[in-house]
């Protein structure tokens, strides 16, 4: 069945009173309204802003505490550099789309961003990898340590359970095995020559589902 994406008008409560015909239009609208809630509105999402030090070349004059220019600073330490973004999934979290804002620096090797999906057993940052994930390599870059923020997106392809054994450059959403849906998950992000300023995680909306 098709999942509505908007708040479609509901029937009047009068239409459910005694002596009214309810099967047909009225019950169909109720079914659509509930499907919109569970399979659209209440899909999970998480929006991480990644704050960096505001110390920079202007700090001697302007102080710190605010970001005055729209350039991300790619520090020399951003090599095989990890972040962990925790995501409370739901029973309907099957594919997770990832949107990242970043600044990249072009050096001797191409910068990249890897995203893997881990469980969080025992609150561990290094839980079992449940999707080997993806590796963004086609990043916009500058030849300097300062670069404007750009965005890169995993897309929302309706994939089946992946079989790659290391992060793939064939970009796709992350896949949550059925046993892990509803659990707290860890999107483990590793960057090389990239400063990330935001990571956004979405349950992928599916237009049509089988009831």
């Amino acid at each position: 069945m098709l999942i509505p994406t908007g708040f479609i008008g509901l029937p009047s409560v009068d239409g459910c009173y005694n002596d009214q015909v309810v099967m047909g239009g009225t019950v169909t609208q109720l079914a659509s309204g509930l499907a919109q809630l569970s399979h659209c509105k209440f899909l999970g999402e998480a929006h991480y802003q990644v704050s960096h030090s505001t110390y920079g070349g202007w700090s001697g004059v302007y102080g710190t505490g605010s970001r005055l220019h729209n350039y991300g600073v790619v520090r020399s330490s951003y090599k095989a550099y990890d972040y962990n973004f925790l995501y409370q999934s739901t029973a309907l979290s099957e594919k997770l789309a990832i949107l990242i804002s970043y600044a990249g620096k072009r050096g001797s090797s191409d910068p990249d961003i890897q995203c893997q999906l881990r469980d969080t057993a025992s609150n561990s940052f290094t839980g079992t990898i449940i999707d080997q994930g993806i590796k963004f390599t086609n990043l916009s870059t500058q030849g300097y340590s300062y670069a404007p923020d750009e965005f890169i997106f995993s897309g929302t392809q309706l994939i089946n359970a992946p079989t790659n054994v290391s992060p793939t450059v064939l970009i796709r959403p992350l896949y949550v095995p059925s046993i892990n849906r509803g659990q707290l998950l860890n999107i483990s992000v590793t960057v090389n020559d990239v400063a990330i300023s935001g990571v956004h995680i979405y349950d992928v909306f599916e237009v049509e589902v089988t009831p």
Binding site: Q20, A31, L37, S38, H52, Y87, S122, N123
Partner: protein, 364 residues
Amino acid sequence: MSNSFTSPPLLTDASRVVAGQTIRTTEIARLADSSNYAFAVGGTSNILSQTWDDSTFRQDGTSFVEMCQWYIPQISSSHQTLNIILSAFCATAGAQAKFNLTLGSNTYTTTLTITDTSRYSSAFVSGAINITAFQNDFAGLLKMEVKAPTGGEVEVLGVMANWSPLTSPLATGQHFHQLSEYIPQGQARLSADLPMSSRTGVELINNINTLRRRPRVLFNWSGVEGVSSGSGISSAGAAPRGIATGDLNSMFSESAIFPGMREDSTLDLTAYVHVLQNGGSYTPISIDLLGERITMNSTGWTTHTLNFRLDELPRSNDFGLSVYRVGPDESAHNLTQLFVFGVDMAGGSGTYLPYVAGLTIIGV
């Protein structure tokens, strides 16, 4: 079982309930199932998500220092456990973070003891704020305080929060979200040998309307006040305190806002804006949010209802949903209003300016 639901929910096939089809109890029972599921689980994903880079958010004070604030929506009166997860470390044992959630006139607290000793070395810490009284608010203020042990310095890497979903079956009786009520649907009353009462239809319609009003967090960010580090400012302790000009091209969410909101006056977007000024007389600051200019007439937190006036983003095609930029607009007005220096915040040049120290945007 009464008021039960399955997870994932069982959907009613809309094509099975059109005129000409056999009336089956399956479809009606599934209406109740998915309604109960949506009430129990809907909106229990992340409502707070924020990360700080290495050497940014530090505290070496040995008494609790209030450092961050966010608004957190209450999704119903029955969701009473707020899970808090903290990624942080301190080389010396004994660092703590305290979270205070104020709902109405009550404040609920949990204190977490930080166990990691280096960046992402082992495990995050988690706890729960338990709401012990009946609370029926739209949102509450969550504050985070941090303290280090003597001789130590704690560094915070990230914080995340979500409401615990309810388990099946739902408790009997009414549940509330402000003035809206939700009445669980008992499966036993929808059996094949029972009449489909008027009550069933009326309650389902009211329940759907209640759940449409349930808030979703689209954007949540707090600056960090009171940072203190033994390291030099060039290497640690220069966390962002306010949203500034340089943030505008990336500090936003791309979030779905669902069609049909405009036709229902009870479905709103709400912004909570935290403005600070550390001295001098206050001149109101205004910023552009979702195509609308809002003015904060006082410091502290102010609340604003937004009538978003934005175009959809091209990524709507990927999502299959109407997706918008949710956050401070990259407008000429904001580029001017948010051009605030660190010395202006601190008054180092003799001038204090107001700055946006926190922003929460809640949709439906």
